[in-house]
């Protein structure tokens, strides 16, 4: 008896710090927060019980609804985009080329930059007049105009020549090449080399994109919606209008700016995906090659399922993380043009420390907690069928 008691005590002794933390720094605040959410509590006075009033107010509070909307819209756009980008990057990094570790380092570095520096740096980059982004965009726009000018007559220099130049026929080359490489008209010597086919397919894809750019740019010059022209040096963080402007629930320019900024940090997730990708047994790919699978099938049916646990982990952590985004909006916009970047964490901070409503802030925090739990459970449910745990 004494021995097993001693064993138990030793065990508790080892985890004692964590037990204290659980009680003092997590458990007590958790319950205290719950109690505060039913009180009116200016932080320099004592809490006064008011029942469900805070929660009732929450339901009506337009500002809270806006904050929630901002957070959800951001999550809906940034998380899928980030996952896709990270996986794509990881797949490229996984290609068998020299210099993989070099590229890996470069893509990881942005994650090492402290948050405050990132906020201030990107504030400067998004500066609509002198910032790097608009300068680069202006340069790209000029490039695009030059490219389009080869095929279409922008600016009406020579009357009578018409809008579409004869050279525009060349734009059809790329789609034709794509059709050829995808379809049956593949000559034998190409079919024998699947990498050549992939290469031609990607060249064709790039060509299609270029052709599309030319056509779209020409259409823009012809006079399409006003907001498309806004791509010339947009206002970014100062602009609260949605992009694209016909969708009122779309993120505002300011929110898009924050999304672009978070894409800069995908390197961290990409490295994790890379590690997992390298764990995928090569035999699976070889078997697929023997069965004659093409690149798309290999990706969707081997790669993605094999890394799906990491994807799930990534998505869940990202969801939780979105509800905690504070430093960037606080420093960069302070809540944004028309509350368009007032994430819920900023909202809670404001309510507690500026408007001195700790009770209300606690109620908001609790509602957020329930949402996170719900979303996480949902994520796990959805993933049960899709996520493949090798060897479990």
């Amino acid at each position: 008896m004494a021995a097993s008691l001693r064993r138990h005590l030793t065990g508790y002794g080892f985890i004692l710090p964590w037990l204290i933390a659980l009680v003092l720094f997590i458990g007590y605040p958790f319950i205290a927060g719950f109690y505060f959410s039913f009180c009116d509590f200016p932080p320099l006075k004592s809490p006064a019980f008011i029942g469900l009033d805070n929660y009732a107010e929450l339901l009506e509070d337009a500002k809270f609804q806006r904050s929630l909307g901002v957070t959800f819209i951001y999550a809906a756009v940034a998380i899928p985009l980030g996952v896709v980008l990270a996986i794509t990057l990881a797949m490229f990094l996984n290609a068998r080329i020299r210099g993989q570790s070099f590229y890996r380092v470069i893509y990881y570095i942005p994650h090492l930059i402290p948050t405050v520096v990132v906020a201030i740096l990107w504030l400067w980059i998004f500066n609509p007049k002198f910032g790097l982004l608009n300068i680069v965009l202006a340069g790209l726009m000029n490039l695009a105009d030059a490219w389009t000018g080869l095929f279409f007559g922008l600016g009406a220099e020579t009357p009578g020549q018409g809008f579409v130049r004869p050279e525009a026929v060349a734009l059809l080359a790329a789609p034709a090449l794509a059709a050829v490489s995808m379809g049956r008209l593949v000559p034998q010597w190409v079919r024998r080399r699947p990498e050549l086919k992939t290469f031609l397919a990607s060249v064709a894809a790039a060509g299609c994109v270029a052709a599309l750019v030319a056509i779209l740019n020409a259409a823009l010059h012809f006079g399409l919606p006003v907001d498309a022209k806004n791509l010339h040096s947009p206002g970014w963080l100062a602009d609260g209008n949605p992009l694209p402007s016909f969708a009122s629930f779309a993120p505002s320019w300011a929110l898009w700016a924050l999304i672009v900024m978070s894409m800069w940090g995908v390197g961290q997730m990409a490295v994790i995906y890379l590690a997992k990708l390298q764990d995928v047994p090569v035999e699976l790919y070889e078997a697929a090659d023997i069965d004659g699978a093409n690149w798309a099938q290999k990706t969707w049916q081997i790669t993605v399922p094999m890394i799906s646990p990491v994807i799930l982990f990534n998505v869940v952590m990202a969801i939780i993380g979105t509800f905690q985004i504070f430093a960037e909006p606080y420093i960069m916009t302070g809540g944004g043009p028309e509350d368009k970047t007032r994430f819920v964490a900023v909202f809670v901070y404001d309510q507690a420390f500026q408007y001195q409503r700790v009770g209300y802030a606690s109620a908001v925090a609790w509602v957020l907690f329930l949402m996170i739990v719900a979303l996480t459970v949902l994520a796990f449910r959805v993933s049960q069928k899709r996520v493949y745990y090798a060897g479990r």
Partner: protein, 486 residues
């Protein structure tokens, strides 16, 4: 005991010691220059922390005032700690029960701090020290009062006026005369202002504004007061009801919208973003990109700092036709004593001296007008602000106004700023395209004003409902908490 156990125990003791021995930084240790200068009395004095804002020469002015106080007496030494975002930091410090002894805020912070119990009421101390109401210009004292208590006293005050670029007026004299306007005079009503602005506007080939006749978004801190120049009010001073969507206010913000559309929202974004703040040579007005704008009493100092040769004039901002004037919003920086500070008695001694003698020094060095009704004679001699008279007259003008202190002052401001941005950015060109077909110039602007009125009225009504709701909720909750005066 085996080695590992000893090691672990030692580690825990060491950590405990480090935590225990940490001391909060003592004020006295971080100013070696002044320590040397005042070394005789350094240790006998009570050291106070004074958190205040300001940068560049304004900070120097405040430092001079503090230095003067430290020199004229031996019991107290005040440390002026330049703090950015001083109101946020002060609130955090107050909540954390670690506030400074004296704090400088803005008048918009008075009610939130007072309501939260973060400030000490000063009216009793004022009576003891002989500071009476008639020492001050009434409005400036009112800004620090709430519900019968004085929570904060003025330091640097301000009024706002119309700044106009004389160089532009001169170079466009012919066009102005052709439009029936006098280039040697300033607009006397807002309608006249619009006509002046129409002539003074210049545009590039693609429609981007090169010079803007009048830009209402500068300076950007008082966007909630535009209605007053049209005869409207934000709050009914007798009943305390929120009156955001009065007709005059709707007119005012529709008028604002006309300027947004004149210059084009997107183009304006690009134009505006390259501007610096008021303390920068790239400020819109200083650069000569804006012909007329509303700015405050501090501005001539900054203009002369960055572009000394600039020719500009200052006149009271006109009111709409039929609205009595001249008028200006009156706001200020305030000084207060946080509750639970370490040395309240000494803090009051400092604040009292600041009121009686300090603010004259401060206002003069910062180039501003002062809250004192009868400033000492030396105040006006060689005052650095050559345009002071306009601002002083505005401070005493009967029509000049303050936004009365309410429980929802902060929220009201925030909502009004949001509404202003919304109105400014609302894409009327897209939404009402058909109604605007074929109209140009002044006719187009007038039509835009008319079309916007509905949206403006709706936005302002939204603000009113929201703020009224919050006000009612706050009043209801107050009954649960003990009053703010204890």
């Amino acid at each position: 005991m085996r080695g590992v156990h000893v090691g672990l125990a030692g580690l825990i003791v060491a950590v405990f010691l480090i935590a225990w021995l940490e001391t909060k930084p003592a004020l006295e240790d971080f100013d070696p220059v002044r320590h040397a200068a005042f070394k005789d009395t350094w240790n006998q004095r009570v050291h106070l922390a004074y958190w205040e804002k300001w940068g560049s020469f304004e900070a120097d002015a405040c430092q001079k005032m503090v230095d003067t106080f430290n020199e004229v007496q031996n019991e107290i030494f005040v440390h002026y700690l330049r703090t950015s975002q001083v109101d946020r930091k002060a609130m955090l410090a107050a909540i954390g029960r670690d506030p400074p002894d004296v704090v400088g805020l803005w008048n918009s912070n008075v009610v939130p701090f007072a309501e939260g119990g973060a400030l000490m009421p000063l009216e009793g101390l004022m009576k003891e020290s002989g500071l009476t109401r008639d020492f001050y210009i009434e409005n400036y004292l009112k800004l620090g009062e709430f519900e019968g208590h004085v929570w904060a006293l003025p330091t640097a005050v301000m009024t706002m006026a119309l700044f106009y670029n004389k160089e532009h007026f001169r170079s466009k004299a012919a066009e102005l005369r052709a439009a029936g306007l006098d280039p040697d005079r300033v607009p006397q009503t807002i309608e006249e202002l619009d006509r002046y602005a129409d002539v003074l506007n210049e545009f590039e080939a693609d429609g981007t504004p090169r010079i803007m006749g009048f830009l209402p978004t500068e300076p950007g801190w008082f966007n909630h007061t535009w209605g007053y120049y049209f005869g409207g009010r934000l709050i009914d001073p007798e009943t305390g009801r929120i009156t955001t969507d009065e007709t005059a206010n709707v007119r005012a913000y529709a008028w604002i919208k006309r300027y947004a559309e004149t210059y084009g929202r997107e183009k304006l974004l690009r134009f505006k973003s390259g501007f610096g703040t008021f303390d920068s040579p790239f400020n819109a007005f200083i650069e000569g990109r804006v012909s007329m704008e509303v700015q405050g009493v501090w501005f001539p100092m900054f203009i002369r700092r960055h572009r000394p040769q600039m020719e500009f004039g200052v006149a009271p901002f006109p009111s709409a036709a039929g609205v009595p004037g001249p008028r200006s919003v009156m706001e200020q920086d305030v000084i207060g004593i946080p509750r639970h500070c370490k040395h309240p008695k000494e803090a009051w001694k400092f604040v009292c001296w600041v009121q009686k003698e300090g603010i004259a020094i401060l206002s003069r060095l910062q180039g501003k007008n002062t809250a004192i009704r009868n400033p000492p004679a030396w105040f006006h001699q060689g005052h650095p602000n050559l345009e002071l008279k306009v601002f002083e007259d505005l401070a005493l003008a009967p029509e000049s106004f303050i936004v009365p202190n309410t429980l929802v002052g902060q929220e009201y401001r925030d909502e009004m700023n949001r509404a202003f941005e919304h109105i400014w950015n609302w894409p009327v060109e897209l939404e009402k395209k058909s109604a605007l077909e074929g109209l140009t110039g002044a006719a187009r602007q007038a039509k835009i004003e008319a079309l916007c009125r509905e949206e403006v009225a709706r936005t302002l009504a939204e603000v009113r409902q929201e703020v009224q709701r919050q006000l009612d909720a706050k009043i209801a909750r107050r009954r649960l908490q003990p009053g703010s005066a204890d």
